[in-house]
Assembly symmetry: C2
Amino acid sequence: MENFVFHNPVKILFGKGQIANIGAEIPADAKILITYGGGSIKANGVYDQVKSALAGRDVLEFGGIEPNPHFETLMKAVELVRKEGIDFLLAVGGGSVADGTKFIAAAVPFEGDPWDILAKQATVTKAVPLGVVLTLPATGSEMNVNAVVTKAATQEKLYFGSSAVYPRFSVLDPETTFSLPTRQISNGIVDAYTHVMEQYLTFPVNAPLQDRMAESILKTLIEEGPKTLANPTDYDARANFMWSATMALNGLIGAGVPQDWVTHMIGHELTALHGLDHAQTLAIVLPSTLTVRRKGKWEKLLQYGERVWGIVTGTEEERVEQAIAKTRDFFESVGVPTRLGAYGVGLESIPVIQARFEQRGMVALGEKQDVNPQVVEQILSLCA
Amino acid sequence: MENFVFHNPVKILFGKGQIANIGAEIPADAKILITYGGGSIKANGVYDQVKSALAGRDVLEFGGIEPNPHFETLMKAVELVRKEGIDFLLAVGGGSVADGTKFIAAAVPFEGDPWDILAKQATVTKAVPLGVVLTLPATGSEMNVNAVVTKAATQEKLYFGSSAVYPRFSVLDPETTFSLPTRQISNGIVDAYTHVMEQYLTFPVNAPLQDRMAESILKTLIEEGPKTLANPTDYDARANFMWSATMALNGLIGAGVPQDWVTHMIGHELTALHGLDHAQTLAIVLPSTLTVRRKGKWEKLLQYGERVWGIVTGTEEERVEQAIAKTRDFFESVGVPTRLGAYGVGLESIPVIQARFEQRGMVALGEKQDVNPQVVEQILSLCA
């Protein structure tokens, strides 16, 4: 096992009716800004629950945060927070609203151009405190330090992370997700699954507990994912999926083990250039990543095949191929196509993506630092 | 799944050499009290590492905290902390030192008689901040809110818990445990295993991720426990055991599921009355608890037998019996006898324990609130 530091202070309020308890989690005298997206929270009753829980409190609102939240939009919220002297941000929505709100939180006290937080990985040491009411299980943003923001003007989708933007609390009420469109649940399953794979499917470092916990999440997603798609109001299935998605990216299964993240880095480019949903890009890229890089991931692919998919017969090569095929089949089975062609996208952007990786100096990626822009090109070529 | 709140802000510094980093985790101007036990930390080099990491800082010491730490001893430390104006407590040792230090931390600012924290479950809202350098993997105290303290004068072993006594950080360096006596490692394996069982072996509430994570810890203890006993300086085996013991009782696997804890409650009485090691009492009581209460735990016993021990043949009754027998055999195999007789203890204290449960109003215990003093008597009768 590798040395690690694990520190996740997010308070999780999980279950039916938990939104009613958020008042106690926000300082009594705080001036609160509720941030949200396209307004689905007003249709599904979540907005009313939040307002009711904050009745009598000093509350402003900022709506319209996009999927793949735009830097341009978020900077308007930054202005508002500065102007109004907001003390607490309450993100109500899915991963994009949570991510966007983390960026707002970091940008407000940032000295200099906040774009540097994303483009230059400028250090974030302070942030406006924030909480999350999660309405879409997928990204894990509710219990981690990560945020991804897109600059619409330049089609750049960039990441930052800082312990300063850990939510103070996150509410996970499965009932708030019952009205989600099927596509978003399908995407959430693929997103959570891929988050686990990025931390698990690397090479062994003798960390059996981390491995088993990762496999536990994968098996639960395989079991509960189809159930929650088939019956969106099955509380337990939705709750199990929701908790799996949070556990998939809260730092725990990645503590003390190597991590990959190449699938995400390539996927972000496909979203930025073609507007594909984040999870769609992961479904497209992961099987290709595993195929192109299978030699370096050999032992873990065999272990994954056996423990998660029950693949125990055949040659090693056959078992590795089966394990990758099972992954692709699972994504397809939950309704997320795994080929660029299914989305009407060709291979024309490969040179652009390759050039971007080179330009940013992303030349030694993945758990073995052996993924350079040429490998990225090979992976993308297999995505057709 | 049941509703839950999960909040564990302990920062874990895991791995070789991590003690060197504690200076940055303690406020620069803090007056620090190092608390420890019988002095093994001076023999194994841990004391020197801690002193070196805190060179130039304002540091006092308080040694002599016993296994099953005594209220009487801890109150001497409370006096010292108050007199010297200590700002930060650093527990260096195993679970007893951590537990004792949590009690000191809570007792210092407590208004009234600190014994009430234990005897009357008086609410603890503030505490002196503390950190832990763990030298014995077992209790999980390094990443939870729990503490158990014994009043020597009356042979009472009592519990308290408060989020105010979460350690600010805990250092887990497997190398610091290499010199531990075999008996303490054996005990630690049984302790961690039983912690998982208290949260897992109840009844199903459709929480498959929690179940699988619990089974992950059990399987890892079964796999790594014997390895670390056979080769105490095998770093990975010790690291995997150490992280399993922490994960066994940091709140995660118990979130959203029923919990038992009857084995612990009975075990504490056996320690208080007969001086048995904590883990010895768990090894004695758990198989009997599972036997006496098997009807209420039926489905989980079958699941446990199948998933953890691979028991898939025979009638349900046979499989349940096998699962319990496997548990007993495992404890024996790691060197912890599972019968009172092996420790020279008879059944003479059963009436005393039964009376204590009655006297404290402990008449509806366990995950189904169906364990009364008569059931406790049945469980103890099977421990001979």
